[in-house]
């Protein structure tokens, strides 16, 4: 009875969302239906291998970056969770999460500084082997960029989850004779699963939509966000850009939904 009357408080946000996102998105989806040459841009998109390749690149790269992110983040999170009190812990965590707020362009720029032609890596390898190693501008650079912006978020999510693990669980496994590896594989990893799914989903979605990084790295690989951008800006091909955007949005959302479903199933078993 006290709760009913609060509904109006939801109105402003709902209106903003409806007016500025949902309706425009529907409009955009509709635009994709009205292709340039009369035909539906969706058909154009679906029948064009170029776009498929672009999509494939994007998904593959995002998946690889996500996987690598998780593999790196788990040990870091475990370390931070196991060591709650040492000097410099706060600083270390700050360093690990500082890049959280960097826009894609900055990440791209940093990767160039790292692995570009003038980058520190090229400089070092040049001096050591007289043969500069440069990989900022290709698939590898983009991968590194995605890794760069995914790691901080994954680390903070996983650290929080690792800190939540009841230390009595590994202790119990211990009294039952489990060694360190067995405790990790049987107890810790399953306990981290929901967080892994959440962090993975987040990393994947961000990578799928990452435009700034690819834009700055000026890579030769066409990832979908760049393709959309090109269609829109270079050819003013708004229908195709719209259709591709809708496609990218749908795929990302779908994969996220599956991930959430998995996480929920996990949680559901936990409730």
């Amino acid at each position: 009875m006290t709760r009913r009357g609060w509904i109006w408080f939801a109105l402003p946000a709902t209106l903003v969302f409806l007016a500025f996102w949902l309706l425009p998105m529907i409009r955009l989806a509709w635009l994709g239906q009205t292709g340039r040459d009369g035909g539906s841009a969706y058909l154009t998109v679906l029948s064009e291998p170029l776009y498929w390749r672009s999509l494939f690149n994007t998904v593959l790269l995002s998946a690889a970056a996500t996987l690598a992110t998780l593999i790196l983040a788990v040990p870091v999170a475990r370390f931070l969770a196991h060591h709650r009190e040492f000097r410099g812990r706060g600083t270390l965590i700050a360093l690990l999460t500082f890049p959280l707020a960097f826009p894609g362009v900055v990440v791209g720029f940093l990767i160039i500084l790292l692995a570009g032609r003038q980058g520190i890596l090229a400089d070092l390898t040049e001096r050591l082997f007289n043969d500069p190693v440069v990989f900022a501008y290709g698939m590898a650079g983009l991968f590194l960029g995605y890794l760069y912006f995914s790691l901080p978020r994954a680390i903070s999510v996983l650290t929080a989850a690792a800190e939540q693990i009841d230390p009595a669980l590994p202790a119990a496994a211990r009294t039952l004779g489990a060694n360190a590896w067995q405790r990790f594989a049987h107890i810790e990893l399953p306990a981290l699963k929901p967080a892994l799914i959440a962090a993975g989903a987040m990393s994947f979605a961000t990578s799928m939509g990452a435009f700034g990084t690819a834009f700055t790295l000026a890579t030769q690989i066409n990832v979908l966000p760049l393709t959309i951008y090109n269609e829109f800006t270079n050819y003013a091909n708004i229908p195709v850009a719209a259709a591709l955007s809708i496609l990218l949005g749908l795929i990302t959302w779908l994969i996220l939904a599956v991930a959430h479903h998995l996480a929920d199933a996990q949680q559901g078993a936990g409730a």
Binding site: A13, V16, W21, R27, L92, I228
Partner: protein, 286 residues
Amino acid sequence: MSLSHQAHQTLSDTRHIAPPLDAPSRLDAGLGWLLTLAVASFLIGPVLLSVLAGLTRNYFTGVQSGLTLRWIGEVWQLYSDTLARTGIVALGTLLICLLTGVPLAWVLTLHPGRTSRILEELLTLPVAVPGLATALALIVSWGTLPLLRSSTLFIIIGHVLFTLPFMVRAARASMQGTELIQLDEAAATLGSSRLKRFLGIIVPNALPGILAGSLTVVTLSVGEFNLTWLLHTPLTKTLPVGLADSYASMRLEVASAYTLVFLLMLLPLLVGLQWLAARTPRASLS
């Protein structure tokens, strides 16, 4: 639970006291430490490089060419308007997020049912769906409105869509559980009206979350590029847009100096977030 907190004071421990037997093994801790350092240097190394480049007279020749603030001065001259605009956009975004997001968070807390879940799921779509798509949608439907398209408000709208879910989530985190609902009910039995309860009880008690949400919103807005790049017009450039410009067309040193300015702008926000994150568990309602 007192079985538990097996903290590891081992690192700084000089006293001759045996380590707990259930501490993670040396190997485990050692590897973790190494990897953590490696990841931290991967994340921070390039930032340091960039800072250095922004202060070096000629990065191509190296630090031996000397340090200078000249590039920062140049950035200031060229891009100071983007700094101010970024601030305005961030504050505008924050204001709208506060006015719309916090009340919504409260309603979602009160009605944790299916409809709420769907609404919240919908609300996070602008985060899940790539920013380009959102920006395109905004341009094709609202870009035709005179004045709006070329005003800063247009960018603020885009940022609100992108940051609102974070505000809602953070505010909800502070409202979670039945405690705040009970406080509200308690205030109701004491005769307080809805608005008074919202302002006098709910907002103050959800403050840690709202603060955290605010910092997140500002941080995200300051760094937002994907949407802004499409939404901006020559008169409404923000910092990240300027950054992208400078990366493409300026000397490496200027671009680095600009990045340095950006980092300086972010720093207090991130420190604030850290501080809050460290505090919130204790600040939670008892």
